[in-house]
């Protein structure tokens, strides 16, 4: 057990307990201690003046690539990147090699995660090998530590299969996460619009996403089951989710920092680090995504951290794989929204910690007395340039390399243990 830790003079932001005040946080035996606890003799102290103390950040959508593609990332490097970005927990998607569609793969992931620098919550596949034909064994997977199911990376083409997944997942208290893209419309390589025309690249229209988002909403609504929409990128999808929530449909949704920060202009010059699925959209979409974060349409910010090596990215744009790393830039990019007045500090913590924990049904997301001491100390003023040298992930596929960012985690603490400290 790590030594007791006292973090002093920071701004404690804990929306789960409606706390926002300057104070001290004491951690004893890996848990948040009551404020009136006598200070242990061997306590270590962190001065957090000017910083925020928030419940450890949770990224509910990452790809850790282990097993199978350890040259891109593994559970150790991926959780180190998570800690460096202020995250104390991640939920990892099942599109590994082999696919996490059975308890053996789940067990391997959890075994590797024992020594990791962040909690790892495995998400299993909806269908065997994510091939979209038969359901995986949700019951056994849940019993072995899976928190959700998703065929992420591949949309579930068959609406009947998705219907059955929602019903069967509900029996087991599992969340279903939908990668919402209509496959016959999404065989392009970037957003469809003036930029794709200029670059001569095949476009993907917004309708590819909204059609599938609406299918999931319709299923959830008709069946009275819940569904979670991953990485929303368009204005139209945002509006569909907003109105579904207003009707009381059990739908939750996440978006990613690149969708509220960048537009398809980032692809100019055939930048493969701006290629992901779904693609970067227009500034109108970006605006709508920000609005959705502000008004509660979105429940979570998740990165879709998708490491790829230069083998997959230093190629012709059409050939490049989809995805970017995001764990180390998510917090600074989200803090920019706070500075711009799009969201406030409490909302930031809700989106990056409290609500992801609630949606996944896992511990965390609060600084309640007695809770596991997962704490992120954020210096919102710290300015830095995100360079290739400081990337902790094994992969370097970020469109934000070279960007001047402001605000980052200076301490990441999991179970009272410091997993990251920035100089």
């Amino acid at each position: 057990m790590p030594a007791p830790l006292l973090i002093t003079n920071g701004r404690i932001i804990d929306p789960a307990n409606t706390v926002d005040c300057i104070g001290n946080l004491l951690i004893v035996d890996g848990r948040i201690a009551a404020p009136d606890t006598a200070l242990p003799a061997d306590v270590d102290e962190i001065n957090a003046q000017g910083c925020w103390m928030v419940p450890g950040l949770i990224d509910m959508h990452v790809h850790l690539r282990e097993p199978g593609e350890e040259y891109k990332e593994d559970i150790r490097s991926g959780t180190q990147a998570a800690a460096a970005g202020g995250f104390t927990a991640v939920a990892c998607m099942p599109n590994t090699k082999p696919v996490n569609d059975n308890r053996a793969v789940t067990a391997l992931i959890l075994a590797q995660a024992k020594e990791a620098d962040a909690r790892v919550y495995p998400i299993a596949a909806i269908s065997k090998k994510s091939q979209g034909s038969t359901l995986t064994e949700f019951g056994e997977l849940k019993a072995n530590g899976v928190v959700a199911v998703s065929d992420d990376g591949l949309p579930v083409r068959d609406s009947q299969l998705m219907r059955r997944a929602l019903e069967y997942a509900d029996d087991h208290g599992l969340l279903v996460i939908s990668h919402s893209e209509e496959p016959s419309l999404s065989n392009g390589v970037m957003n469809e619009g003036i930029v794709s025309t200029r670059l001569g690249l095949k476009g993907i229209p917004n309708a590819a996403e909204s059609i599938m988002v609406y299918r999931e909403i319709a299923l959830a609504e008709c069946l009275g089951k819940r569904v979670h929409i991953a990485h929303v990128s368009t204005a139209m999808s945002t509006e569909l989710i907003r109105s579904a929530k207003a009707r009381g449909v059990q739908v939750t949704a996440e978006t990613a920092p690149h969708y509220f920060t960048l537009t398809d202009e980032a692809v100019t010059g055939y930048n493969t680090n701006a290629k992901m699925s779904p693609p970067l959209r227009t500034k109108e979409d970006r605006q709508a995504i920000q609005q959705g974060l502000a008004d509660g349409t979105f429940d979570a910010i998740a990165t879709d951290h998708a490491p790829h090596s230069i083998l997959e990215k230093e190629v012709e744009f059409d050939r490049a794989m989809n995805g970017i790393i995001g764990l180390e830039t998510s917090l600074p990019l989200s803090l920019a929204l706070v500075r711009e007045g799009v969201i406030n500090e409490q909302r930031l913590v809700e989106l990056l910690s409290m609500q992801p924990a609630q949606i996944l049904g896992v511990e965390g997301g609060t600084l309640s007395v007695g809770a596991r001491a997962d704490v992120t100390v954020i210096d919102p003023e710290l300015r830095f340039t995100y360079t290739e040298e400081q990337v902790v992930s094994k992969s370097r596929n970020s469109p934000f390399l070279g960007a001047k960012l402001q605000g980052r985690a200076v301490y990441t603490i999991m179970d009272g243990r410091i997993t990251h400290r920035s100089a």
Binding site: E192, G193, I194, V195, S196, T197, R198, L199, G200, L201, K202, G203, G269, Y270, E314, V315, E316, F317, D318, R319
Partner: protein
């Protein structure tokens, strides 16, 4: 041309990044070279000792031949690599191929590739000048330039013309280069084609997207027809070539809506009877073979200008 102008492009990757002065300079240079091809001895020593590699990852007859003739008339040494003979079939990446070719110190690499942006990527990994000979559905700058040269030759100007481009705008790299080039030179561009083959955002570039053939062609100075690519038929873009010919083919009647002195153009190869009727293709207003002749001159100019010998 602006005083103090100097052609400074190291590579020719697209028309998008060429200024009006650049285009004028290339066309002036091409005009001055055109006469070489009419001589009994069609060779000048300008590029003697230069190594030029034609790196073609897509089948091409006319563009490759045109570049090769241009290079040989300038006395350069040319080498042809086509997809079937290259290492890419053995799994080598384009960057590795580029680095290996670069290690043999060529002066110019002419690249044809089926993926948009490949020439730009290549240009970042070689010392040679790179000329885009057509990349995916992006651009085909030398074709755009030879089209402009042909129009300028016949109209003595490139500004204030009505250019009608008919057909598959979505997949045509020629159309993309022509649109950007003619707009840059101060002409108006009207396009017409089936909705399945009109890319989004053209209006933002300043193009008029027409809803009838007549709107596009009426009083046009130039009617440019585009090849319908039969190889794209796995996407349900068109019900049949029969209907395409009936609705979007340029017939003598369609051509009669244009100005009496309008030019009929086509980048070739023509699907006769589909996008362009034979009587129009071979009629008195057709300048299709002038385009081919000018292609050699434009490519001579590009080779000359990128080697920085001017």
């Amino acid at each position: 041309m602006t005083t103090g102008y100097f052609f400074s492009h190291r590579h020719i990757l697209d028309i998008e990044h060429l200024s009006a002065d650049d285009i004028t300079c290339i066309l002036d240079t091409a005009e001055s070279f055109k006469e070489i091809s009419a001589r009994p001895i069609k060779k000048v020593p300008t590029l003697r000792g230069n190594t030029i590699i034609n790196l073609f990852f897509e089948p091409s007859t006319r563009t490759r031949l045109s570049f090769e003739i241009a290079a040989k008339r300038m006395s350069a040494d040319t080498f042809n690599i086509s997809a079937s003979t290259s290492s890419t079939t053995k799994g080598e990446t384009l960057i590795d191929t580029a680095r290996n070719i670069s290690a043999m110190n060529p002066d110019i690499i002419i690249l044809r590739h089926s993926f948009s942006g490949a020439p730009q990527m290549l240009s970042q990994h070689v010392n040679a000048a790179v000329i885009n000979a057509g990349d995916g559905t992006h651009e085909h700058p030398s074709q755009g330039l030879l089209d402009m040269m042909t129009v300028r030759e016949h109209k003595q100007q490139l500004h204030d013309l009505k250019i009608a481009i008919i057909g598959d705008i979505l997949h045509s790299r020629v159309a993309h280069s022509d649109i950007l080039g003619f707009l840059r030179m101060g002409s108006e561009v009207f396009v017409y084609g089936p909705g399945t083959l009109i890319p989004p955002g053209l209006q933002e570039l300043g193009v008029t997207v027409c809803s009838t053939m007549k709107e596009a062609v009426e009083d046009a100075d130039v009617v440019m027809t585009l090849r319908i690519q039969k190889e794209r038929q796995n996407d349900p873009l068109l019900p049949s070539f029969r209907e395409y010919a009936a609705e979007y083919g340029v017939t003598a009647k369609v051509a009669s809506w244009a100005r009496p002195d309008a030019l009929i153009m086509h980048p070739g190869p023509i699907n006769r009877g589909i996008e362009l009727m034979p009587d129009v293709a071979d009629g008195p207003q057709s300048v299709i073979l002038d385009q081919v002749t000018n292609g050699v001159a434009v490519r001579m100019a590009l080779l000359y200008l990128v080697t920085g010998k001017h």
